[in-house]
């Protein structure tokens, strides 16, 4: 009985670990860019690396460090970072519905640390209840990759051409595209959700009336409206919350990465 449990735990960990590897690899160019930017701006190398290992977030870190450079106060830094990261509450709430009910609090406190956009994207389209072991596996290589990329960027700052470091700015967004497009191919509702969110963000961007809203809030508002409209117009059938997006449930792990 006990050994069976251990084996199950191991399998779960391995499943998460394997699915985390593409996230880890995708993080390296993005965190590299962060390391480059932070050190170029004047943050000490050790603090740049510490930022990545303690925050493990893209948009929040970029914005927070920019504010540090701008000499902003603690409260402004805290508020801006918090607003940008409020989207994680929606993700964390969504994941709470998929986490195995008996998962103890201390384990939730650990894997909660690693709810990033990408880790959430992978976990949320799983068709099974998520165990803590799966989450631990899923988070391990991305945190490593995020930190490693930052360190590489921090120590090569000044060695790369400006043109190359500018080009790397697209990496984060390209990764997001790789996550959302394949499901949008299979589900018209997902495609429409993406178009709704994009349209709302474009309105925020080009209608100057909305300039008073901070970037973080714009993302939250766009998310709530787009997901709300889709939920009202295209309710997801009971019991198959991810069936629409992940049709190939029996595919080999290597194939699934591309599907998500």
């Amino acid at each position: 009985m006990c050994s069976m449990l251990t084996k199950e735990t191991k399998d779960e960990y391995r499943d998460g670990f394997i699915k985390g590897i593409p996230i880890c690899l995708g993080y390296i160019p993005v965190s590299f860019t962060f390391g480059l930017m932070a050190v170029t701006g004047g943050l000490p190398r050790w603090l740049t690396i510490f930022t990545s290992i303690s925050n493990v977030t893209s948009a929040g870190q970029f914005a927070g460090v920019q504010l540090i450079f701008a000499g902003a106060g603690l409260f402004e830094i805290a508020l801006t970072t918090f607003v940008i990261n409020m989207r994680y509450m929606l993700m964390s709430l969504a994941l709470s519905q998929k986490i195995h009910e008996e998962t103890p609090l201390w384990k939730r406190l650990i894997f909660g640390f690693a709810i990033t956009d990408e880790i959430f994207a992978i976990a949320s389209v799983e068709r099974k209840k998520l165990t803590a072991s799966y989450m631990f596996g899923l988070m391990s290589t991305p945190i490593f990759g995020w930190t490693l990329g930052t360190a590489l960027g921090a120590f090569t700052s000044g060695l790369l051409s400006d043109r190359l470091s500018a080009a790397m700015g697209i990496a984060l967004y390209a990764m997001f595209i790789a996550i959302i497009i394949p499901p949008a191919k299979k589900s018209k509702a997902v495609l429409i959700t993406i178009l709704e969110a994009t349209a709302i963000m474009c309105i925020f961007r080009y209608v100057s009336f909305f300039d008073f809203i901070s970037d973080g809030f714009k993302i939250i508002i766009a998310t709530v409206i787009a997901a709300g409209i889709s939920a009202a117009v295209f309710p997801v059938k009971e019991g198959g919350d991810s069936a629409e997006a992940a049709e190939s449930g029996c595919a080999a792990p290597a194939k699934e990465e591309a599907d998500i």
Partner: protein
């Protein structure tokens, strides 16, 4: 020292929204609307983060637009995260040399 404290504060306000809901909510939400809403959240939030911000991500709007199209095409062809991200960087770099 001030920068170090700022980073610590950033870490805390990043951790709280992540950990709170997943630790507090244990029971299953029954509402079809809320379940559907939560299903659409990842697509909505990632799209909102990406579009149109991606256009200003590289210093050249034209190069970024070409990179965006390549990324969408490769993602449509179901290439993985790494392939899409690397291809976008290479294309933006190459486009930057031309434009």
């Amino acid at each position: 020292m001030k920068a170090f404290i700022s980073v610590l504060v950033m870490a805390i306000v990043t951790y709280i929204p992540r950990v709170l809901p997943v630790s507090v909510f244990r029971h299953e939400i029954k509402s079809v609307f809320i379940r559907s809403f939560l299903f659409y959240v990842p697509y909505a939030v990632l799209a909102a983060l990406t579009f149109p911000a991606i256009i200003w991500s590289t210093g050249s709007e034209l190069a970024a637009a070409v990179g965006t199209l390549i990324a969408i095409f490769l993602a449509y062809m179901e290439q993985g995260l790494v392939v899409v991200a690397m291809a976008a960087i290479v294309v933006v770099y190459g486009a930057g040399l031309i434009f």
